[in-house]
Symmetry: C2
Subunit: 271 residues, 2 copies
């Protein structure tokens, strides 16, 4: 399906766009099922938070309308929204009058091996560390060189994802996923106040866990805590939940709480 | 003058470009005088270093040839080269076979008030801190949200530049400049191993200082050291050297070593 730029079909972008010049923008990767964007409100909530923190002006109702129209035309697949600050002139100073530019791109459904969800995955232990930047932490912004470097660390198909630590060695996230630990029947997921992307599926799992009265904790997580976890899983808004079976010398079983949350995520994504 | 994309006139970019998706690329901002790119070899040296560290394939001689041709056609102004990893498919994994995409954009000469160079400038003390990322430190890559946030901190014309510190409070650079301190007849400029952009004019000034037997030091710099400097100046490859007269409550005179190096930079840029 053709991409849209500011609501019009098109496959090119102005060279003056600040998304290109500085990575000055945000994105959302949204699963589309039966013509509906999955977890749309959570995606829009994160987008609005990002626009506020980067001071990018955008018309939320217009974005919502375009996402719904585009998803309806797509049917099934993955919809990527890029929202940039629009064209720039010279230099870093943002034009306070600039309107965000909306780019919609459609892709076929992601084709991950079914075994990832069924039997779990192995994480590659990335050497690329995430830097601390509280002003950008949590946002899905366009400055993603750390993820590019981390993802380039392995080429084999044995590792479906990578594990990223921060500069102090704390466990933060996958390259394109968030991570949860299960311990004594409760969930722990890393605090993302210094770095990391606050994923939409992470938010949904925290919400579902609360509904199910599963104790949840958002905290700094050490490699030792990871080692002693009863279960480990990763998640994102496209594939749902994958059990993690191993990372380097560490290994975990696929456990019941992972399966329960995976079933919930699958129900959302198969709707 | 029209922009060029991979050697062809054009003003648009593929929406699949990884420069847009992830800021996956590098740039150089080059002064052009009498049809010649100024300090071209230094710009290319930094670009090659960036390509090696990001594993972006590029044909250096082709880049050099295009820069020379474009500059010759421009005559006077500022030439911006953006080199991205080219089109991507899905996900962060870089295609090892991808060829870098070359984008050339021409702008008229920068129109800074003459007083900046003559009487010196005031630096805005930015609250936005630079994050520590040794894998990217020194490179002029396309992930520049920290600079966008820092530059958005002031709108007045009283401040021509901003001062950026790292997370530990060390003095690192300006938003679009490098910084030098003069103390006891010698130069000190921040070590950029954790963060910051290793500017082409910074490299030239270090080289010129060595030729003149001026003692130079590349080191971590505290705010206390900044306070006790005899002179302070900032530099970049477009404007050359500006004396710094003040930053918040701190102030410095415009001194003889700043003037000497400013004259050298001006000779390069006025050639």
């Amino acid at each position: 399906m053709d991409s849209w730029v500011d609501g019009q079909p098109g496959d090119v972008l102005s060279l003056k766009d600040r998304g290109l010049a500085y990575g000055d923008g945000l994105f959302e990767t949204i699963a589309v099922r039966s013509g509906q964007p999955v977890l749309l409100d959570r995606h829009l909530t994160r987008l609005v938070d990002g626009c506020a923190r980067l001071a990018i002006a955008t018309d939320l109702e217009l974005v919502r309308h375009e996402l719904l129209s585009y998803a309806a035309a797509m049917g099934e697949g993955v919809l990527k929204l890029i929202l940039t600050r629009g064209d720039g002139l010279r230099g870093y100073a943002p034009d306070p009058a600039a309107q965000g530019r909306r780019i919609l791109q459609g892709n076929p459904p992601a084709a991950y091996p079914a075994t990832h969800a069924e039997h779990g995955i192995r994480l590659f232990p990335c050497n690329t560390r995430l830097s601390t930047q509280p002003l950008l932490a949590g946002l899905k912004h366009l400055n993603r060189l750390e993820q590019v470097l981390a993802r380039a660390e392995w080429q084999d198909s044995e590792h479906a994802e990578g594990l990223m630590l921060d500069q102090a060695g704390r466990v933060v996230e996958g390259v394109y996923s968030n991570i949860f630990l299960v311990r004594d029947g409760g969930l722990i997921t890393p605090d993302l106040k210094r770095c990391g992307v606050a994923g939409v599926m992470r938010a949904e799992i925290l919400f579902q866990a609360e509904s199910l009265a599963i104790p949840t904790q958002i905290a700094d997580i050490s490699l030792e805590q990871l080692q002693w976890a009863d279960e480990v899983f990763v998640c994102n808004s496209v594939y749902g939940v994958w059990p993690v079976r191993a990372c380097a010398a560490l290994s975990w079983p696929v456990g019941p709480l992972t399966r329960k949350l995976q079933t919930i995520a699958r129900a959302l994504l198969d709707a």
